[in-house]
């Protein structure tokens, strides 16, 4: 559309600020709600490393709320 052409400007710094905040706060809220997750992650890395070769950076530990159920999701890609 003609008008869309004019609207597609570069993202403003305010938009970037909002997006950065939404991402970082999603992480921080989750971490603060379940402060044990970091320790759990460290422990998992220790245990799994004994048996298989893993890259600690790729391990994802997540606590998610689906309706009424809480799901602890752990993703461990193996090298």
């Amino acid at each position: 559309m003609f008008f869309d052409f004019f609207k597609k400007r570069k993202k403003t710094s305010a938009t970037k600020a909002k997006e950065r905040l939404q991402i970082i706060l999603a992480h921080e809220r989750a971490a603060n709600k379940a402060p044990f997750l970091d320790d759990l992650r460290q422990d998992i890395i220790k245990v799994i490393s004994k048996y298989v070769d893993i890259d600690p950076k790729t391990i994802n530990v997540n606590l998610q709320k689906d309706n009424s159920m809480e799901v602890l999701e752990i993703n461990i890609p193996i090298k």
Binding site: T12, A14, L21, L25, N32
Partner: protein, 265 residues
């Protein structure tokens, strides 16, 4: 009488907690409520200067909780209204000089005689903040539209939630309409989309605040002040009135600008 404890806090420092405490305390007092405000930023006394009451301090909040004086002796009466009193922070002590039990004890006493006990919180999320937050019936979080202030506000909101504080609302302070329009400052709506708590007021950037503070006369005392008008609206909302939020805009737009905006929608 059983008054309410209203705590003004923020996480980040320098965002306008003390300015807001002074204006809301004075605004509520001028609306006929009996108000006492306590500066809980122990070691960094501030509210006395903003209110222009620094010459009248004899006893401070640490003296009161240590029972070195009676509560009455530490109540500093405002110059402009008989409805407002200040209890000053101690200047030569630090945060550890008071406990949250002591502050709760003090506010419980004050609630018997005052409609509002307004606590000006120190920055941070440590003991000074806890002392200000734990006695609160209602909490106002002050933030500016800056990324670090909003992030800290979110952290504080999380801590308040886990302490079962549910009466929490937000003041967005120092909105600069010119910057918002250029896209260089988050708007009121941007901030509200990030922080999920109800808004109680938007206060514009006001270059006159420096001089108001210089003379110890908060914005609400100045008829033409735009920050004063914003604080008066917040006072009404605290008192339960349904006041629409004013859009903070630049000076009136010309015809051409209106047409441009029309096509932008």
């Amino acid at each position: 009488m059983s008054g309410k404890v209203l705590t003004i806090t923020s996480g980040k420092g320098g965002v306008g907690k003390s300015t807001s405490s002074a204006n809301l305390a004075l605004g509520l007092a001028l609306s006929g409520k009996k108000v006492v405000t306590i500066d809980l930023d122990i070691g960094l006394r501030n509210l006395d200067m903003i209110l222009g009451l620094e010459n009248r301090i004899v006893y401070d909040v640490v003296n009161v909780v240590e029972k070195a004086c009676k509560i009455n002796q530490a109540l500093i009466k405002d110059k402009r209204t008989d409805n407002l009193f200040l209890i000053a922070a101690a200047q030569t002590r630090d945060k550890s000089a008071v406990t949250s039990e002591q502050i709760i004890g003090l506010t419980n006493e004050l609630k018997k005689d005052f409609d509002y006990v307004i606590l000006d919180s120190p920055a941070g999320i440590e003991s000074g903040f806890r002392n200000a937050m734990l006695p609160a019936d209602e909490i106002i979080i002050v933030t500016t539209p800056e990324i670090s202030a909003v992030r800290d506000a979110d952290r504080v909101i999380g801590i308040l939630e886990s302490n079962d504080k549910t009466q929490v609302s937000l003041i967005i302070n120092r909105i600069n309409p010119t910057l918002v329009k250029k896209g260089d400052m988050m708007s009121k709506d941007d901030v509200l989309q990030v922080l999920s708590i109800p808004l109680i007021g938007v206060v514009p950037e006001d270059s006159n605040i420096v001089s108001y503070t210089n003379i110890g006369e908060p914005s609400v005392l100045h008829k033409d002040s735009n920050s004063g008008a914003a604080y008066k609206n917040i006072v009404k909302r605290i008192l339960g009135e349904d006041v629409p939020f004013m859009e903070i805009t630049e000076e009136k737009k010309g015809f051409l600008q209106s047409i441009i905006n029309f096509f932008k929608e």
